[in-house]
Amino acid sequence: MNATIRKVRALAGKDFADLIKNPTMFVVCLMPIGFMVLYRFVIGDAATSAGVTMGELAAASEEIATFMLGSSLCMTIGMVATMIVLYGIAEEKEKHTLRTLMLANVRASEVVISKSSVALLAVTVVNAACFFVAEGQLSWLAPYLALGIVGALPVVFVSLVLGLACRDQMTAGFYSVPVLLVALVPIFGMLGEGAARIASISPLGGASTSSWDSRSRARSSPKPPWLPSS
């Protein structure tokens, strides 16, 4: 047991170093944060050009925060969890370091635990960064991070399977696209009632459903004018 923990810790350290060294994995961690910065500017500009007053903007701030945090949750899980696991395993297979590890008495389960832990940790860190960029209230932080981890679990499982099926990083890039697209489905749930229904049963629909679902309609809260009408 102690040996397993020691090996997993060593592997996690190596995987973390790989995450920093591999440009694809590192850039993918910065992308959700960049999107959040972009969203903030776009929403601010759109509100100004739509003639929204500061009072109206403040009234819609909770809706905006819900949309931004829901979107960042999907983007972070879809990009970070998928890419770190897929590219991590694919790189090991491509460079034959997985074989070296196996010959060094490291079990496949230990590699899987290490990759998953690093992916979940990266998701949490990127989610926290997105949260502060989106200016969420501190009381929302703990549930937000918890939802991030819970929502990332199915994506990590699927990515592990796809990662093990990959031959190299090029295959990993191909396999990651459908997972990323499915993870982003809840963002498009605001486009209409049908889209919202599909989004609510998608893998991240439960964790990141934005406010433009039945709950919001029941409250009859007005949509900000810069968001598309249903």
């Binding site: 829901g70 491509e94 937000y144 819970v150 679990l153 499982f157 093990l164 893998p203 439960g206």
Partner: protein
């Protein structure tokens, strides 16, 4: 996420999203368990 922001994360309204998420976690875990042995080989 909307429910968390409204402070309604532990209410009845959160049951359906929770079931959806748990179902996907279970489906992912089952798929992983079924394919792990077959795929966990080096090139």
């Amino acid at each position: 996420m909307g429910l968390a922001i409204e402070g309604a994360l532990f209410t009845e309204a959160a049951v359906a999203p929770l079931i959806v998420t748990m179902a996907w976690i279970a489906a992912g875990a089952l798929m992983f368990a079924a394919l792990f042995r077959r795929l966990a080989r080096d090139n």
